[in-house]
Structure formats: C-alpha cells, structure tokens
Amino acid sequence: MIPQIINGLIFASILFLVATGLTIIWGILRVVNFAHGSFYLMGVFIAYSITRFSTEPALHLAAPFIAGAIAGIVGIAFERGLLKNVYGRGELFELLLTYGMIFVFMDVFRIIWGSMPISDPTITFKLGIISLGWAVVPLYNIYLIVIAAILAALLWFLLIRTKVGMIIRATSFDPEVTSAFGVNVNWVYALTFFLGCFLAGFAGGLMLPITGAWIGLDVDMLILALVVLVVGGMGSIKGALVASLLIGLVRSFGISMFPAIELAIVYLIMVIVLIVKPSGLFGGVEVEG
C-alpha cells in the first residue's frame, strides 16, 4: 500500500504543479496553454543541463528552481512576443497558437538536447532512503511531495494574502475595471504567464531524478494536466488540488491493480465528471447550452 500511496502522491504533486499553472493562466488570460507540457519538458531538460556541472547535492536540489525560473522567462517572452498578438480574436486562435508552439518547442529541444531519453538519479542516491513503517522509500520522493505542498501553500498565500495576488484576482474577475483602477493589465498577464510556466518548469526539474525526460513527454503531460484542469473545474486551484490527488492516486493504484487499462480509467473519470458536472468539480457556471 505505502509505495502506491507515495507514488500516487508524487504523481499528484507534479500534476498539481503543472495543472495549477494551466488553471491560473486560464483564469487570468482565458487561454488554455497547449504548450504547457512543453514548459514542463523544458524544465526537465534545463535541470539536466544544470546538473551536468557537478554532483554536488545542493546544485541538484537548486536545479528545479533555476529550471522553473528559466521556463518562466521563456513563458513571458512567448506571451509578450507572440500570444498578445491574437488577444481579442477569440479563444480558437489563442488555442491554436499555443498548439503550434508545441511543435516549435519539440524540435528546439531535439536540436539542443538530442532525441535520446535523459535522466539523472544522482540526488536520489545522495539523499538515501528512509523507512516508513513497513516500507522503505527514497528520501527524495518524500522531499518532492513536501516541497510541492510548500509551493502550493506559498501560492495560496501569494494569491489570497498579498496585494499582488489581489491584483491578479481582480484582473481575472474584470480586466477592464482593474485597468481603470490604474493597474497595468499587461504586466499582470506577463506575471501570470511567468508564474504558470515557472510551476511547470519547476515540476519538470523535480522529476528529473525520477522519470527523466523524452520527446513526447510534453504531450503526455499536457493531456494529463488537461484532464486535471477539466475534472477540477477550469480556473479553480482548489479543484486542481483535488483532481490531482484523485488522478494521481487512481493512476498509481490502477497501475498496480489494472495495469492494462490504468490510463483508460483516468480518461473515463474525466468523461464521467464532464457528463455529470460539466463545469468540473469546483468549476463556475461557464458552460453554455
């Protein structure tokens, strides 16, 4: 049981970080960022390049943060340089633009990091293992879950308890009125994209020792993050948390109990939720028809 729970929680933590980024960007910009999986993959690759320098554990633990920051900056460049050109033309074009970026990133990654899968479990060995009652698990796995939880708490604090968070929430509620109050909405959009892409890149960096990366992981991660997004309710961070835990644990137990169809179960949950409650578990009333 314990290994499944730990694996499920790892998976849930990563999904939560990626899907929260996706849901924040949707909440503020009304864009479903199809390139979000690419920012995750970018995070793994950048962390890999950073950890080439030395086997020092501190560097390996810092790598996800640096990877997240770089992914966030690329995110800002993407939003300011490309995405802002299609604002106001409808969500179709915003969606298709981010869809096109998946392919651009895919080949850019291939050019920089090659086509072979990469991985670096050094830090897992350095940190050793820890005994949890009946089971022995790598300490790094526990660290991953804890750091994701801390980040989730920080995010909540940023959005609910700080002035910046208030401005972000106000922009999500009504960009025009917020702008009338003297807030530079463009700045909020850029910040949101940084935050969302940072979370994806950071999650990617965290997974370097566990799964590593390969070309194609971007689309796999995107699809799972989309599942979390719609199951939890688009724009709801609370929903992302609940849905990540649900999907993470279902997938982890599914792999050990129904190894053949675990992914199908995940999609089935999504379809059922969407039929029963079209706006997702914690979604608003944004569904027409």
Binding site: V32, L82, N85, V86, R89, E91, L92, F93, L95, L96, L97, Y99, G100, M101, I102, F103, V104, F105, M106, D107, V108, R110, I111, V219, I223, L226, V227, L229, V230, M234, A260, I261, L263, A264, V266, Y267, L268, M270, V271, L274, I275, P278, E286, V287, E288, G289
Partner: protein, 309 residues
C-alpha cells in the same frame, strides 16, 4: 461569376486523374492528401460551419479505420463494398453517442470534451491487445472489390479519388442546403436562431454526426490504402491536431480550404522530412504565423482578394 468558377477547377481535376503517371510515390502522397482532405472537410463541418472546434476528430477517423481493420482481422472480410458501409455505420453510431455528450457544450468545453473522449478510445485501443492488436495495430494484406483483388496502389488511388469526389459533392450539397445554412445561422448567433424556432441541439448533433460520417469514410479508405493502422497513427490526439492544422492552413472560412490545407500539409511534410530538415519546427512556425498573420488561411485570403468565394 459562379459558372466561371467551375472552369477554374477543371485543370485541377484533370491533374488528379493523371497523377499516377507521376510515379508510385506521387500517387501515394496524393492518395494520402485526398483522404486527409475528406477528413479535414468533415472537421470543417464543425469548425467552419457550426463554430465548434473538435480536437478529437481522429476518433471518427480511427473508428472508420479500425472498423475496416477489425473486420479484416477477425472475420477475414476483405471486400470494399462491405467494409466501407460497415465503417460508415460504425462511425455514425459512435458520432451520435459521442455527439449526445459533446454538443451540449460549446467553445473550449466542447474542445476539451472531444479530447477526453478520443483519448479514452485511444487508450482502450492501445490496451485491448487481443482485440485490436495493441500498439502493433493491424496489418491489411489484401482488399477486394466485387470479387476482384485490388492489384496496385494506383488502382486503389482511383477508388480514393472516386470516394473523394462523392464526399466533396455530398458535403457541398449538405452545406448549401437549408440544413447547412441553419448551422451557419446558429454559429453566428445562437440566440437569434433559437428565437427563429430552431432546435439548436438537434442541428448541432446532426452536424456532429455528418462530420463523424465523412471522417469515418476517410479513416476506412486510409486503412485500406496504407495497409497498416495503429492507435498512434489513426487515433492519437496528434492526428486530431493535424486535421485542425490542415483546416487552419487552407482556411476554415472556405469550403475547399481544408482540401488545399491537406495537400499543402502532406506535400510539405514529405518534402521537408525527406530533406532531413526539422519538420516539426517548420510545421509549428507555419501554424503560429498563420494564426497571427492570415487567420482565415490560404483560401480565405485568396477568396477575399479575388472575390471568388
């Protein structure tokens, strides 16, 4: 004006007929482009005419392909005159079921739902190895038509060409009919259409089913033409995305836009991949540029400039 436009297409039709003289590879590519053209046209029934973006259209393409593939694999039926109608029936059935769930939603929610449901079937096809062959897919060794074995890629190319023209003709009539016009009215203003007494859901479901039907035809012809199908090839979200990209490339505001897009896509991909260049990079930049600079696509732009729409 209208009559002159038809003459513009005659040289193109003649070129399509003499394509096999260009060699097997050109025939193969053009056959693919025609099949994808049918699929992209069917997608555009939803995107261009109904205003709904399906990102899971490979589900119906794959349904057509797998209906044909499974009949051949398990029942050893290789006659095109049986395979095609069964594929159509299966795709229509699936489209009605999936449509009942999807058409209650619009915009991004519709898109998400199409992704979810297509992924569900993709995962099932992947995992139900005893039935579907899993990720190895299904091989198709021979196809018959009225007892006669299809001997060459060239011969099958002409069946595809015939299917293409029939599909094109039917879709043209459907979309020009009061039904097609009603769809466009709903797309432009759902509220106004509702006030005019139109049952929105019924029309959307009918559009969804029509779309699924032609995607199924395309899928079945694709499977038989290629002789090899796998879930990653015919059911994946990447394939769905390609149909969207073709439609966008050619122009979703134009009736023949998706066909222009499918030809552009297929030939560009073949040329760039064979030159060992980075196809995905070119493809991605192409989509991004189209979205930013020519959102109505190639044909949309041409029709706007030349006023031949």
């Amino acid at each position: 004006m209208k009559d002159r436009k038809i003459f513009l297409y005659i040289p193109l039709v003649i070129v399509l007929f003499i394509i096999p003289f260009g060699g097997e590879y050109v025939t193969y590519l053009t056959g693919l482009a025609l099949v994808f053209g049918i699929a992209a046209l069917s997608l555009n029934v939803l995107l261009g005419y109904t205003g709904l973006l399906s990102f899971g259209h490979a589900l119906f393409f794959g349904c057509g392909a797998y209906s044909a593939g499974l009949l051949i694999k398990h029942f050893n039926i290789t006659s095109l005159e049986i395979l095609l109608p069964v594929s159509i029936a299966a795709s229509v059935g699936l489209a009605v079921l999936v449509g009942l769930i999807c058409v209650r939603h619009t915009r991004i929610y519709f898109t998400m739902l199409t992704i979810a449901i297509s992924q569900l079937f993709y995962a099932l096809t992947h995992k139900l190895r005893p039935i579907t062959g899993g990720d190895d897919g299904i091989r198709i060794y021979s196809v018959h038509i009225f007892g006669h074995e299809v001997a060459s890629i060239t011969e099958f190319y002409y069946y595809i060409l015939a299917t293409f023209f029939v599909s094109l003709f039917c879709l043209r009539i459907i979309l020009r009919s009061p039904f097609g016009l009603t769809l466009q009215a709903i797309r432009d203003s759902e509220l106004r259409a509702r006030f005019a007494g139109v049952s929105i859901m019924t029309y959307r479901l009918a559009a969804f089913t029509t779309s699924g039907l032609f995607a199924g035809i395309a899928g079945a012809m694709y499977a038989l033409f290629l002789g090899q199908i796998s879930p990653d090839d015919v059911l994946s979200v990447m394939r769905s995305g390609e149909f969207v990209a073709m439609t966008l490339l050619g122009g979703y505001t134009s009736f023949i836009g998706p066909i222009v897009g499918s030809f552009l896509f297929t030939y560009l991909k073949a040329i760039i991949s064979s030159a060992a260049l980075y196809w995905y990079l070119v493809f991605g930049i192409l989509i991004v540029s189209i979205v930013i600079f020519v959102p109505t696509g190639l044909m949309g732009e041409i029709e706007k400039r030349w006023r031949i729409g």
